[in-house]
């Protein structure tokens, strides 16, 4: 009997530090699978963010930067201008991308930087213990919105795909999720397509992934996959917001 399932070769043979039920581990693996399938492990450079995925470089066996909070798109802009033929991706959470690093991602998209952004939206600051994120849903309880997010006081959640898809330089903008197998498969396809868009030199690509955070949400892993389905997807609709012009 042949091997039907194994660890991607771009992934180090180690256990991840992610909590049980966290979506990061799934997306890390999908990235490695795509890197394997496109055979780009020796050409790909990534950034690990500040946040739960800071140790991404302990899992992916490729050249990597660990960068300041929110600055991945700026770092990759500098990198890619030196090495336009290599494949560059940033991996960013919602605090990283949609809060402190909003300027960097918007301008990277506006310039049409030929990079790929993997944006993990779990509606909460995970690593710091579950505080409000810019993507926290209206009414959602966090450690800094104990009564639930009141939009009148804390403002409204930001839909990043919708925002970036208005920009000329953005070539491929897609939102997916990893709360069930069908969505995991779609997310992998989206990541692969985003890399292909970059490798064809078509411009900025971003995959937003709605991801469960059982620890930050104070839920079981099963409950958190339902939260993605019932609460997040209605607010953050899945799908391709912008397709490259061919």
């Amino acid at each position: 009997m042949g091997i039907i399932f194994q660890r991607p070769s771009s992934m180090f043979p180690v256990h991840t530090h992610y909590c049980a039920g966290c979506g990061h581990g799934i997306v890390n693996r999908l990235l490695a699978e795509v890197i394997d399938e496109l055979e780009i492990r020796e050409q790909v450079i990534g950034t690990a963010p500040v946040g739960c995925a800071v140790f991404l470089y302990n899992y992916l066996n490729c050249d990597m930067f660990e960068v300041a909070h929110g600055r991945g798109p700026a770092v990759m802009t500098g990198f890619k201008r030196v090495h336009p033929d290599l494949v560059a991706f940033t991996y960013q959470g919602d605090g990283d991308l949609a809060s402190i690093g909003m300027a960097e991602v918007i301008h990277a998209a506006a310039r049409g930087e030929n990079i790929t952004v993997i944006f993990i939206n779990n509606a909460v600051f995970g690593m710091t213990g579950g505080q409000m994120a810019p993507t926290t849903l209206p009414g959602q309880k966090t450690t800094t919105t104990p009564q639930g997010r009141t939009c009148k006081i804390y403002g409204h959640p930001i839909r990043v795909c919708e925002l970036l898809s208005t920009l000329e330089g953005a070539a491929y903008i897609v939102r997916s999720a990893v709360n069930k197998p069908q969505n995991v498969i779609k997310t992998k396809k989206a990541i692969k397509k985003a890399f292909e868009v970059q490798m064809k030199g078509l411009g900025f690509s971003m995959v937003e992934v709605l991801s469960q955070c059982p620890t930050g949400w104070r839920m079981s892993p099963i409950e958190s996959t339902r939260f993605v389905e019932e609460e997040m997807i209605p607010y953050y609709p899945l799908g391709e917001f912008k397709q490259p012009k061919v």
Partner: protein, 355 residues
């Protein structure tokens, strides 16, 4: 502009930019701010001519992170700004120093704090020499006092950055940047050998490379700090630079950049009035040329530190003097530049004072 081999008239800002290109810098990321705009303008024209990239960033925060990315990619890269913009770069500079990435940052200082003004000042001495951002680190800091020296030190800065894998700052002021002087681009004779095997270029045929600054294990982080501090020790040992004049005089002016230059004229005037006055002009502000001060310090010497700030470098002079000499201070600030006559009066007044 093309290749410049003959003596030519340039502003300090233009000389810095062309010197960087001559030193092999092909990438510039920046954000406009007065009084250094000639630097990005010059690069925007010249870099495409030599196959490089000029890019205007959305902010100084982004610019310094683009520098981080290009430096990590193994390229010679530079940014320039002025005081408020340099404040915005401090986060990135801390990361660059921690990640041990070579790059050059130019600060053409203007008066602060806050938005301050746009006239020349030296009020970022502390920020430049003591770290500036969070954590225990230093930039190498070079302070030119002429257009010629601005060009020479810029070329030197790229070599120092590669030699130590450390960010190097050219600390000028609005005068150095905007003043026009005859100068010539000198070829550097001693070429440093550059090892960039640590750079991110794709993990082809080698183990993957990692550029990081996070060390959660306190012992590992302490070791990282000790490693970078060993570099600072080595810099202190071998890179101190200062110009000295009439060091046997009893009164020594200590000044850098534009103020040192004004002081030289003041010293000539004082000499014609029969008062012998010497000069120490620190060229490296970090490492500070403490040994020049400490070997000179004794009961008979008086140091007069003159700066365009409220007293910053004076603290390093006091440390260098080690209590063996009086240290006086005179400063103008907010963009007010001291005149020769003013410095003459200050020195005459102190010379008349009883020790």
């Amino acid at each position: 502009m093309g290749e410049l081999k003959e003596k030519t008239l340039l502003t300090g800002n233009e000389a810095i930019a062309e010197a960087a290109i001559k030193a092999g810098c092909r990438y510039f990321f920046g954000y406009p701010i007065t009084p250094q705009n000639k630097i990005p303008e010059y690069f925007s024209k010249r870099l495409p001519e030599v196959g490089g990239v000029y890019l205007q960033a959305e902010s100084e925060v982004a610019a310094i992170n683009m520098v981080f990315g290009a430096a990590g990619a193994g390229a010679r890269v530079m940014t320039s700004s002025s005081s408020p913009g340099i404040s915005l770069m401090q986060e990135g500079l801390s990361y660059i120093a921690a990640a041990e990435l070579p790059c050059v940052i130019v600060n053409i200082m203007r008066g602060g704090p806050g938005l301050g003004g746009i006239q020349p000042a030296q009020s970022d001495y502390f920020q430049a020499t003591k770290g500036g951002g969070h954590g225990d680190y230093h930039l190498l800091v070079l302070a030119p006092s002429s257009v010629q020296e601005a060009a020479d030190l810029t070329m030197h800065a790229f070599d120092l950055a590669d030699k130590y894998r450390n960010p190097v700052m050219i600390l000028g002021d609005g005068y150095i940047g905007q003043m026009m002087e005859p100068m010539i681009f000198r070829e550097k004779k001693d070429k440093v050998s550059i090892d960039k095997s640590w750079a991110l270029t794709g993990a082809k045929g080698r183990l993957r490379n990692l550029i990081r600054t996070c060390y959660l294990d306190p012992k590992e982080l302490e070791q990282h700090n000790l490693n970078i501090h060993n570099k600072y020790k080595a810099m202190k040992k071998t890179e101190q630079l200062a110009e000295t004049l009439e060091t046997d005089a009893d009164i020594i002016i200590v000044a850098f950049g534009t103020v040192a230059r004004i002081s030289k004229t003041a010293i000539k005037i004082l000499q014609s009035k029969g008062l012998k006055v010497g000069l120490i002009r620190p060229i490296t502000l970090f490492p500070f040329p403490s040994s020049e001060i400490s070997t000179m310090a004794n009961d008979d010497k008086r140091f007069i530190v003159i700066e365009m700030n409220m007293g910053q470098m004076v603290e390093d002079v006091i440390i260098g003097a080690g209590g063996k000499s009086e240290v006086h201070f005179y400063g103008r600030t907010g963009g007010v530049v001291p005149t020769c006559e003013e410095i003459v009066r200050v020195v005459q007044k102190i010379a008349k004072m009883e020790s």
